[in-house]
Amino acid sequence: MRRIRQGIIALLLTGAIILSGCSGTSTKKSTLVVLEADSLMVPFAQIQTAFEQANPDINVELQPYGSIQAIRQVTELGQQADLVAVADETLVPMMMYQTKMANGQPYAGWDIESNTNELVLAYTATSKYADEINSSNWYQIISRPDVVFGLTDPRIDAVGYRTLMTLGLAATYYDDPTLVQDAVGSHFSMPITADTVNGTTTVSVPELLEPIDSHLVLRNADMELLALLQSGNVDYTIDYKSVVMQDGLNYIELPAEINLGDINEAQTYQKVTVNMDYQRFATVNPVFGGTPIIYGMTIPNNAQNPSDAIKFIQFVLGTKGQEIFNNCSQPEMVPPICDNVSALPNALKTLFH
């Protein structure tokens, strides 16, 4: 009996030693922690594969979050990330330049903007009125009371407030002043309102967002809305074209003047603003002006592995990286832009001349 027991212990010990040995010898790889916006999951996964092939000594760890959350992981939860890539470049100055680390330095000092996306209206073959919807009547159909419209929470996710921007712009574009209220606003206990003054629309989001009828389904992230869409519990939702295409859903393209996807329409997009009405405890400046959808990347000042992060950014902006992005319908901006170039690491400065 005793011998068997000793045998088992010896076996376990050898096993443990072998296992620890395995991981011990392979730790020569350095790890690159990337916090990414959910809508970057597909292109970044492909870039990860290609990048790791080109740099076998680097192990890329991709962690997807909603954009605001990705930044909060660094600024509030103290996670040390090497790269933060979000779906709205304005969030980096707003949330990372202004918040300071314990040593008084800001969490980030620059921001690279390289890719765009656009909003489309997603639906499935079983969505209500799927047989009659088209690019000229879509805004009327999503306002019908018997249709279920899915909205991403504008207080949490960039798609949410961008959907409100698109609807706000559409109200002017289609000359339908109550569009925002009919499609989403009046279906909450405290309504989301839209006021147009001199051609500029201001959409106001109250602090409390609670749907009061079955026309509207609110979720924290577009992923959950897409699951509801595919299971027939939501008829229509507005989401990034790249995500909708990657999921193989039906979609209707929206005019460039309202889809937030055309940098040349930046002037037009400025005619809408989304106001978050929660001054009480805002940690984000809760006013979002309409801008084109542009992804932003930065290396936080407390990154453990900035040198690999620089390599990753170079790869993303390089031919292979941009080919992947273009194939994912998140087309490149030519040329890419950098906010606050003077703070950029020298190795990256050469890219912005």
């Binding site: 605001i68 929470d153 609110l218 924290n220 959950e224 299971s231 519990n233």
Partner: protein, 274 residues
């Protein structure tokens, strides 16, 4: 010197006699601190003012109340439907019983987001059960019913397993005696089997309730509103940050601690009485 040697000897013999207890106590202390320190830190080190503000916030109170009673209804449904299954599993053999017992544990293993999606494809508007329930006016998206099925799915294995162990511990001979004395199978169950297994069943129901209260992943797929506390904490964290999320979490921890310590106390007293 002499005193010291004597003390060492006594201590040594004390240690020898109680070695198991001492070693186990040290291990227990480690795991206890591991559980308690984070919870205590959350409750006592968070901003008092913010906690008071959250205590007076009706959204928070309504959400905690909703979570508690939704999980309680869930536990009641689990009790009605799960106890019979536990009894059959404990008392009868049938083909593929091992497979059934394994399958019951699946909801614990499956990631809860996946569980929520799976439920959506059964109780969703366009699917069989969803259509039936829709016909009688029950809808599982953004409703109490949605919260309940999500909680039920992930928590009912705790009750089934606990009740099954309870029924197994009841001596079959006692049931047989009752039968020979003329009791009907229903009477035997009600008067003999159930009372003897009741502690395990009660513990299982309590575990199920607790598990329901904590559920997030499956609920958020089906029902964002009305908002259970786990989702409210998440939503506050996402939109306002840590300072607004922690007080809600702290209040939930305190409420749950009171409830569950209370129930443990009742269980303990019952045990003494037996």
């Amino acid at each position: 010197m002499e005193v010291w040697r004597k003390f060492a000897r006594t201590a040594g013999s004390y240690f020898k006699r109680h070695r198991l207890l001492i070693v186990f106590s040290v291990f227990s202390l480690v795991i206890l601190l591991f559980i308690l320190i984070p919870l205590f830190k959350m409750v006592f080190l968070s901003n008092k003012e913010a906690i008071w503000q959250a205590v007076r916030d009706t959204t928070v109170l309504e959400s905690i109340w909703l979570t508690l009673y939704a999980a309680l209804i869930t536990a009641a449904i689990g009790f009605v439907l799960g106890v019979p299954l536990a009894y059959i599993l404990a008392r009868h053999n049938f083909p593929l019983k091992g497979v059934v017992e394994g399958l019951i544990d699946l909801p614990i293993v499956v990631p809860h987001t996946a569980a929520g999606i799976a439920l959506l494809f059964v109780f969703g508007r366009n699917y069989l059960l969803g259509k039936w329930f829709n016909a009688i006016g029950i809808n599982f998206v953004d409703s109490l019913a949605g919260i309940i099925i999500a909680m039920l799915f992930v928590s009912v294995p705790f009750l089934i397993n606990s009740a099954k162990d309870g029924f197994r511990k009841v001596d079959v001979r006692l049931e047989n005696v009752a039968r020979t004395l003329g009791a009907s199978p229903w009477q035997v169950f009600r008067r003999v089997t159930f009372p003897l297994a009741r502690r395990s069943i009660f513990t299982g129901t309590l575990m199920m309730w607790a598990r329901g209260i904590s559920e997030f992943g499956a609920v958020i797929i089906l029902t964002y509103f009305p908002m259970v506390t786990s989702i409210l904490i998440y939503q506050r964290f996402e939109s306002y940050g840590l300072t607004q999320a922690v007080p809600v979490a702290a209040i939930l921890v305190v409420v749950c601690a009171l409830i569950f310590i209370g129930f443990r106390y009742i269980l303990q007293r019952e045990k003494k009485r037996d």
